[in-house]
C-alpha cells in the first residue's frame, strides 16, 4: 500500500472548498471564470491518478489516514481502489462541464450557485474516497443541503415540491444507514474502518437487518423501482447542472454503496436478497423504459431512462459474478457520461426555446446540425449501440446475468429493445420534422462554449466504446476482491476460516497500518 507522498485525495476535497470560500470575495463579473478555473484545476489534480494508479493491486491506493475523533475512533481516512477511481475521475471531469453549461442558463445569484456547486463537488468526491464509514456518512449527508438548494433555488416552476421531495426521500433513506453504521461499529470490533468492517463475519440474522437498513439508503439513491418517484420530479425541476450531477453522480452513490458495503460486508444477506434485488432490477428496467416511452417532456424521458439504466447496474451487481459486477461498475461510469451528456443537450435546447417538451423542439437537424449530431451520438450510446460505451457495460451485465438465469437475461434484454424504441423515437421527433416557425429564429447552432461541454463527453463515448480495456483492467482486481469477500462464508461458515478472511483476526491481513494504529 502506498501512502505518504502528495495528499492527492485531500487536495481533491480541499481545493473546491477553498474555491468556494474564495468565490465569496471574487468580483461579480469574474465568478464564472474563477469557478471554471477551480473545477478545471481539480480535474487536473484528479487526472494523474489514472496513471499513478496501480491496476495490479487490489489494495486501497493513495491512502491518507489521520485520526479525526478520538472517542469513538473515527478517522479521516481516504483511499481509492479500482471501483472508486473511475467514479472520482468522472465526477471531477463533469464539474467543469456543469459550470460551463450554467454560464448563461443561471442568471440569478450566480455566485451562490457556483459556491453550491463547488461544495457539492467536495462532498461527492468525499463519498467515493472515504474509507471510514462515518466519514462516508458525513459526506453522504452533507451533499443533501447543497443539492436541495440547487433544485429549490435555481429550479423550474414546481421546484419547491421537487426539492423537499428529494430531500425527505433521501434523508429518510439514509438515516437508517446511520443506525446500520452504529450497529456495525459494535459488532465489528469497535471500528468505523470500512476495510476492517469488511473482514468481519456477521451473524446471518444481523446481516438481514443491516442489509435492509442499507437497502433503504442505497435503493432510494439509485433509485430502485418502488423508491424512484422522487427522481422524475427532481430531474425535471433541477437546473441543467443539477440534473447532470443528480443523474451522473448522485445515482452512482447508491450503487457504489451496494458494491462497497452491502456485497462485501453482508454476503449472506446479499445472497438471500438476490432474487428480490434482481426482480426489482428487472422491474425497474422494464417499467422505467415503458414510462420513458410515454413521456412528452425530454427531461422526464431521460429521468425514466435513468431508472431503467440503473436497473442494469443493480442487476449486474447482484448476479455477483465477475462479468456482472464489472459490467455494473463500467455501466456506472457510462451512464454518468451518457446521461449527463443527454441532460446537457436538453439544457442547450431549453436555453433556446424555453421548453422541454418534445413537441416544441422538433426538426432541429436543419437549423442546428451540430447539435443534432451530438444528440444522435448520445442517444445511440444510451441505447447501447456497439462501438459506444454503454454497449460494453450492458453486454457484460447481460453476460453475467446469463450465467445466473437465462430467463432473467431475456427479460432484461427487453429493456435494451425498449431503450432503442424510446430513444430512437425521441431522436426521430426532435431531429427530423419541421420546426415550428416561431421558434426558428432562436434555433442557432451550438456556440463554442456548448461545443466545449459536449465534445469531451462524445470523445469519451467512443473511447470507452472501442477501448474499454484500460478502464476494465483498472477495476478488475478490485472487483475480483469484492467477489472473493462475498464468497468467503459460502465455503465454510465457521469451521475453517481461511487465513485471509478469518473472523478471528479480522483486521490483521489486509490493512496493516490501520491495525497497528488501532492497537495502540
Amino acid at each position: 500500500m502506498q501512502s505518504a507522498g502528495f495528499p492527492w485525495l485531500s487536495t481533491l476535497i480541499v481545493l473546491p472548498l477553498a474555491g468556494a470560500v474564495a468565490l465569496v470575495f471574487v468580483k461579480g463579473s469574474l465568478v464564472r471564470w474563477v469557478a471554471l478555473g477551480i473545477t478545471i484545476a481539480n480535474l487536473m489534480v484528479a487526472l494523474p491518478l489514472w496513471w499513478l494508479f496501480d491496476p495490479g493491486s487490489g489494495q486501497m491506493q493513495f491512502v491518507e489516514h489521520v485520526s479525526w475523533i478520538t472517542s469513538p475512533p473515527i478517522h479521516y481516512s481516504l483511499g481509492l481502489d479500482g471501483i472508486s477511481l473511475p467514479l472520482v475521475l468522472m465526477t471531477a471531469g463533469l464539474l467543469p462541464l456543469c459550470v460551463l453549461t450554467s454560464w448563461q442558463a443561471v442568471t440569478t445569484r450566480i455566485r451562490s450557485f457556483m459556491i453550491t456547486l463547488l461544495i457539492m463537488e467536495a462532498a461527492m468526491l468525499g463519498v467515493f474516497m472515504a474509507l471510514d464509514f462515518l466519514l462516508f456518512y458525513v459526506f453522504w449527508e452533507a451533499m443533501l443541503i447543497p443539492m436541495y438548494l440547487l433544485i429549490g433555488v435555481w429550479g423550474g416552476p414546481n421546484r419547491l415540491y421537487a426539492a423537499i421531495k428529494f430531500f425527505l426521500y433521501t434523508l429518510t433513506g439514509s438515516i437508517l444507514l446511520l443506525v446500520a453504521i452504529l450497529v456495525l461499529f459494535f459488532y465489528g470490533g469497535h471500528t468505523f474502518d470500512i476495510l476492517a468492517l469488511t473482514q468481519v463475519s456477521y451473524p446471518t440474522s444481523l446481516q438481514m437487518w443491516l442489509f435492509m437498513a442499507m437497502f433503504a439508503a442505497f435503493a432510494v439513491k439509485v433509485p430502485m423501482f418502488p423508491f424512484h418517484t422522487w427522481l422524475p420530479d427532481a430531474h425535471v425541476e433541477a437546473p441543467t447542472a443539477g440534473s447532470v450531477l443528480l443523474a451522473s453522480v448522485l445515482l452512482k452513490m447508491g450503487t457504489y454503496g451496494f458494491i462497497r458495503f452491502s456485497l462485501p460486508m453482508l454476503p449472506d444477506a446479499s445472497r438471500a436478497f438476490t432474487p428480490m434485488m434482481i426482480t426489482l432490477s428487472i422491474v425497474a428496467i422494464i417499467y422505467g423504459a415503458y414510462m420513458a416511452l410515454a413521456q412528452v417532456d425530454l427531461k422526464k424521458l431521460i429521468a425514466y431512462s435513468s431508472v431503467s439504466h440503473m436497473g442494469f447496474v443493480t442487476l449486474g451487481l447482484f448476479v455477483s459474478n465477475l462479468q456482472g459486477i464489472e459490467g455494473a461498475v463500467l455501466q456506472m461510469v457510462n451512464h454518468g457520461i451518457t446521461t449527463g451528456a443527454l441532460f446537457l443537450c436538453v439544457g442547450v435546447i431549453y436555453e433556446r426555446t424555453h421548453s422541454r417538451l418534445i413537441a416544441d423542439n422538433v426538426g432541429l437537424t436543419k437549423p442546428m446540425p451540430q447539435y443534432a449530431t451530438f444528440l444522435v451520438i448520445f442517444a445511440l450510446s444510451s441505447l447501447g449501440l456497439p462501438g459506444t460505451n454503454s454497449f460494453v457495460g450492458e453486454f457484460l451485465v447481460l453476460a453475467g446475468t446469463f450465467l445466473w438465469s437465462k430467463g432473467a437475461t431475456a427479460l432484461a434484454s427487453l429493456g435494451v429493445i425498449l431503450a432503442a424504441t424510446y430513444l430512437l423515437w425521441m431522436v426521430q421527433r426532435i431531429a427530423f420534422g419541421v420546426p415550428s416557425p416561431h421558434h426558428l429564429p432562436e434555433l442557432k447552432d451550438l456556440n463554442q462554449r456548448e461545443l466545449a461541454t459536449l465534445l469531451p463527453l462524445a470523445v469519451l463515448v467512443f473511447l470507452i466504446g472501442f477501448f474499454p480495456n484500460p478502464l476494465v483492467s483498472r477495476m478488475q482486481t478490485s472487483v475480483t476482491k469484492t467477489i472473493d469477500l462475498m464468497s468467503r462464508t459460502r465455503v465454510a461458515p465457521s469451521t475453517q476460516p481461511s487465513a485471509e478472511h478469518g473472523p478471528a483476526a479480522p483486521v490483521m491481513t489486509v490493512h496493516q497500518p490501520l491495525t497497528q494504529e488501532d492497537a495502540r
Binding site: 479525526w68 475523533i69 478520538t70 472517542s71 469513538p72 451562490s112 462515518l134 456518512y137 458525513v138 449527508e141 452533507a142 443533501l144 443541503i145 436541495y148 438548494l149 429549490g152 433555488v153 421546484r159 419547491l160 426539492a163 423537499i164 430531500f167 425527505l168 434523508l171 429518510t172 438515516i175 437508517l176 446511520l178 443506525v179 452504529l182 450497529v183 461499529f185 459494535f186
Partner: protein, 495 residues
C-alpha cells in the same frame, strides 16, 4: 450548622453572581434610561469573572469539593454545566441589549433577573441534596416567571407569565411531594443517603416507585417533555424572544443537570424502573414534539415544539444510561446527554437570535412567512439561519449531527437500537419543518405589495452572539474532540 471560609470559597461563583445581581438592582434606579446598557456590562463582567474562576479549575477536574455539610458539591460535572450556563447567560445578555431597546423594554432589573435565575441554576447543578435542588429550581423559576411577563403592554406576554407561573408552581408542588416521600424512606434529603436507602429497600418498594414517578413528573415539567409540555408553546411564544432563548437553553440545561444527578446519584438503584418510564416519555416527546411542530406558522412556536423534541433526543441518552450494562454504557449515555445539550445550546441560541433580529413595522416578525426572501435581502443572516436550521435537523457537518450521533450511539450500545431507529425517523420528520424555514428564506420571492417588508436590525452585540453561535455549531460539528473528552471526564465524577 456552621459555615466556614472554605464553604464560602466553594460557592464563590454563586456569590459573585448574586452580588452582581444585587448591584444591578441597586444601580438600576439611578441609571438614566438610555444608559441601561451599563448594567448589562456589569453582568457580563461578573460572568467573565466566574468563567475565569470555574474555567481555572478545569485542570483539576477530578477534584471534588463539598461544602455546607455536603449540601453542595462542586465536581467536574457541576463545573461543566456551570461553564455552559455562564456562556449561555452571557450570550443571552448580549442578545437582549439591542432587543430590549427595540422593544422599548429597557429595564435594568431584567439583567438582575437573568443573574438571579443563573444563580438558581448554579445551585441546581451543584446541589447534592434534594431540598437544595428544590431551592435552586424555585429561584430559577421565580425569576423566569417575571421575565416571561416583561412585555407588560402585551396580553400574550402576561398570559405566558401567568400560565408559566401556575403550571410551574403546580409542578414544584409535585416535586416537593416526591421529595417528601423520599425523605420518609431515607430519613434525609441528601442524595447519598437516599442512594443507600434505595439499596436496602430494593426495586419493588411502592413508596419508592411513587416517589420516582412524582420526581419524574416534577422534573418533566421543567424539561418540557410530553405530556408535561403544555405550557411550553404558549410561554415560548408570549415571552420576549431573548427570554424564550434563555428558557429554551439555560433552564433546560440546568434542569437536565439536576435531573440527571438526582436520578443517577440518588435513584441509581432504581435504574430499571425509571428507564422504562423515561423510555415511554421519550417516545411520546419525540412523536408529539416533531409532529406538532410541522403545522406551526409562528416561528417561536415552532422552535418551542422543536425544543420539546430536542428534549426527547436528550432523553434517548438518559434511557441509554438507565439501560446501559455495566459502567461504560451509562458513562457514554450520560456524556452524550451533556454533549447534546451543549451543542443544542449553540444552535438554539443562534436561531432565536436571528428571530429576535427580525422586525416588521416596529413589531417583531414572528411568522415563518416573515422570513420570505430573506436570502435576497440579507444573505449573510439567511445563511446563518440556514446553518442553525441544518444543525437543528441534525445534518452533518454541523454540531447537531455530532450531538445526535453520540446519543444514538449510546442507545445502540445499550442494546436499544429500536429507540435509535424511532428517534432517527422523527429526526427525518423534523427536517421537514426546519427545511421549510430554509425554503421560505431562499426559494420564495417576497411579495412587493406589503407596506414594509420585514427586515433585520443588526448591532455589534448581536454580531458577537451570532458569531459565537455559528462558530460553536461549525467548529464542534467538525472537531468535537475537546468537548467530547470534557463531557466524558465530567461524567466520571457522578457517582
Amino acid at each position: 450548622m456552621t459555615f466556614s471560609g472554605a464553604d464560602l470559597l466553594a460557592i464563590l461563583p454563586e456569590l459573585i453572581i448574586i452580588t452582581a445581581a444585587c448591584l444591578v438592582l441597586v444601580f438600576d434606579p439611578i441609571t438614566p434610561f438610555p444608559r441601561k446598557d451599563l448594567l448589562a456590562w456589569l453582568c457580563l463582567a461578573a460572568l467573565a469573572l466566574c468563567i475565569g474562576f470555574t474555567g481555572g479549575q478545569i485542570n483539576i477536574l477530578n477534584v471534588r469539593v463539598t461544602a455546607f455539610s455536603d449540601l453542595i458539591v462542586i465536581d467536574a460535572y457541576a463545573r461543566f454545566w456551570k461553564l455552559l450556563l455562564y456562556v449561555v447567560s452571557g450570550l443571552t445578555i448580549l442578545m437582549s441589549m439591542p432587543y430590549l431597546k427595540a422593544e422599548r423594554l429597557n429595564l435594568g432589573e431584567y439583567y438582575g433577573f437573568i443573574l438571579l435565575a443563573l444563580s438558581g441554576m448554579m445551585v441546581m447543578v451543584s446541589a447534592a441534596d434534594l431540598l437544595t435542588i428544590y431551592l435552586g429550581t424555585e429561584l430559577m423559576s421565580l425569576s423566569l416567571y417575571v421575565m416571561a411577563g416583561l412585555k407588560r403592554s402585551e396580553p400574550r406576554s402576561l398570559e405566558a407569565s401567568a400560565k408559566y407561573f401556575v403550571l410551574g408552581a403546580f409542578s414544584s408542588g409535585i416535586l416537593l411531594y416526591g421529595i417528601s416521600l423520599l425523605f420518609g424512606v431515607a430519613g434525609s434529603t441528601k442524595l447519598a443517603d437516599i442512594a443507600a436507602a434505595v439499596g436496602t429497600r430494593g426495586l419493588g418498594d411502592p413508596i419508592l416507585v411513587m416517589a420516582t414517578i412524582l420526581l419524574a413528573v416534577g422534573f418533566g415539567f421543567k424539561l418540557a417533555v410530553v405530556p408535561f409540555h403544555m405550557w411550553t408553546p404558549d410561554v415560548y411564544q408570549g415571552a420576549p424572544t431573548c427570554v424564550t432563548a434563555f428558557m429554551a437553553v439555560a433552564s433546560k440545561a440546568a434542569s437536565f443537570a439536576a435531573f440527571l444527578r438526582v436520578f443517577v446519584e440518588g435513584l441509581g438503584g432504581l435504574k430499571a424502573n425509571w428507564s422504562m418510564l423515561f423510555m415511554l416519555l421519550c417516545v411520546l416527546t419525540l412523536v408529539l414534539g416533531n409532529v406538532v411542530a410541522i403545522i406551526q406558522t409562528n416561528i417561536k412556536r415552532m422552535l418551542a415544539y422543536s425544543s420539546i423534541a430536542h428534549a426527547g433526543y436528550a432523553l434517548v441518552g438518559v434511557v441509554a444510561t438507565g439501560r446501559g450494562v455495566g459502567g461504560s454504557g451509562s458513562t457514554t449515555g450520560l456524556a452524550s446527554v451533556m454533549l447534546y445539550l451543549t451543542l443544542y445550546a449553540f444552535m438554539t441560541l443562534g436561531a432565536f437570535t436571528v428571530v429576535s433580529m427580525l422586525r416588521k413595522g416596529g413589531l417583531e416578525g414572528e411568522e415563518i412567512d416573515d422570513f420570505t426572501g430573506l436570502a435576497k435581502r440579507q444573505p449573510l443572516a439567511a445563511f446563518l439561519m440556514l446553518v442553525f436550521m441544518v444543525s437543528l435537523a441534525g445534518i452533518p457537518p454541523t454540531a447537531g449531527f455530532i450531538g445526535k450521533f453520540y446519543v444514538f450511539m449510546a442507545a445502540v450500545e445499550a442494546d436499544m437500537t429500536w429507540l435509535a431507529v424511532v428517534a432517527l425517523v422523527f429526526a427525518a420528520v423534523s427536517a421537514y419543518y426546519y427545511m421549510r424555514v430554509v425554503m421560505v428564506m431562499y426559494m420564495r420571492d417576497p411579495e412587493v405589495s406589503t407596506v414594509e417588508s420585514p427586515h433585520l436590525v443588526t448591532s455589534p452585540a448581536l454580531s458577537i452572539v451570532l458569531a459565537c453561535a455559528v462558530a460553536g455549531v461549525i467548529v464542534f460539528g467538525i472537531y468535537p474532540n475537546p468537548l467530547v473528552s470534557l463531557a466524558t471526564q465530567s461524567v466520571l465524577s457522578l457517582k
